[in-house]
């Protein structure tokens, strides 16, 4: 009988581990982070067993720490994600993403006839009306957007 050889994944020296991503959403998360790119090494785990969530995805990115706008976008796709910042192989900070009640500027209204899509000097603004499944409502035109419409905004996979 064969025994499985241990799979070696190179640890990150400096970078970010995004853990507890909703299963099968890792590619969306990469999209938000404009990855893959030439000079960044990324390890992806999809649909792996998790004691907390049953199944989860995770993404490990070498040499990059996330900006807060990026973290807010990830919250829309993966509301339970954990962001671990790694420095010199050690986790130096660990934080949960936070789905805010109000979402400003990071996504556009899906209504082409909304005043926020016309070049007026105003940021988009949405209220979260349901967390799971995610539904947001535009403060201006009052139109609702659901998870799939929001995901489309980050571009095709």
């Amino acid at each position: 009988m064969k025994t499985p050889k241990e799979l070696k994944v190179t640890p990150i020296r400096n970078g970010t581990v995004i853990d507890h991503i909703t299963a099968n959403k890792a590619l969306h998360v990469l999209k938000i982070l404009n990855l893959p790119s030439q000079d960044t090494s990324v390890t992806i785990g999809m649909n792996v067993k998790s004691t907390q969530m049953g199944a989860k995805d995770l993404v490990k990115i070498e040499g990059r720490e996330l900006r807060s706008g990026e973290v807010d976008k990830i919250a829309l796709i993966a509301p339970h994600a954990t962001i671990n910042i790694i420095r010199d192989y050690e986790i130096v900070t660990k934080g949960k993403v936070n789905l805010l009640e109000k979402i400003s500027g990071i996504i556009n209204c899906g209504n082409p006839n909304c005043i926020t899509n016309t070049g007026e000097p105003v940021d988009s603004l949405f209220y979260v009306t349901s967390q799971e499944p995610l539904v947001v409502r535009c403060y201006y035109c009052e139109r609702a957007m659901d998870q799939s419409e929001i995901e489309e905004q980050f571009g095709p996979l």
């Binding site: 209504n111 006839n113 909304c114 016309t118 007026e120 000097p121 201006y140 035109c141 009052e142």
Partner: protein, 304 residues
Amino acid sequence: MVFSQGDIISIRDFSKDDIKYILRTAEKMEPIARSLEKSDILYGKLLGMLFYEPSTRTRLSFEAAMKRLGGCTIGFSEARTSSATKGEKLSDTVRTVGEYTDALVLRHNMEGTARLAADIVDVPVINAGDGAGQHPTQTLLDLYTMKRLLGKIRNLHVALVGDLKYGRTVHSLAYALAMFGTRMSFVSPPELKMPREIMEDLNGAGVSVHETSAIRDVLPYVDVLYVTRIQKERFPDPQEYLKIKGAYTIDKDLLKNSETIVMHPLPRLDEIATDVDSTPYGKYFQQAFYGVPVRMALLKSLIK
């Protein structure tokens, strides 16, 4: 009783008490609207009317309302005569006219414009229709018409008829009636049913609604038939359109022996036959008049 709104943007912002306050005030305004009494409570006040899209009733009834209360109006009635043609941003125009006036009335073809304007200017902003979005003063005058003609709103049975999918007035009206716990029936071709999102809102408010595609189903028991136009553009097949249109046309014969009133936000094309106009059923012109006292009530409550 107090009125808690500083702007009139969406009926969603209103509490039931706000609505009742406006309906009560409108009733006091009626003799002035009919020129039986005079008023100068808004003497020296100026209302800015920014109509980027044409309108007859809404614009003229606001003007009538302001002038009946002793105030004046300035503004434009189509985008062509504004600096929007030179590419000026809406927010700049609104900010400027907001400085000239004591309140603004805004109609625009894009959704969300009134909300944007209200956040920019210090004076009260009234949404007179933003694209396919909200038209709250229409909803208030619809409610006033029911209250005025039938004496109540809560214990009525109201049928919304026609294009329930795209019609903005029926969306706001359904939302407002739900606040009062009014029984509703939705009568539309299957293609133009009330959107799921609004049905969910109504269910959330604990209102159960009866949906059907036949007017005859509801005629025996409704108090109000609220009729809206079915637009040709919604149907790719012209034959299909003609068939549907025929099934949703209201005439005197259809109404015989019923006890309903017929309302319509106007303009009407042929969804209500002219033979209904002079019957006791047809109340849409009266409804249009009620736009004046309701808008007077709003102006009086907003302009300080």
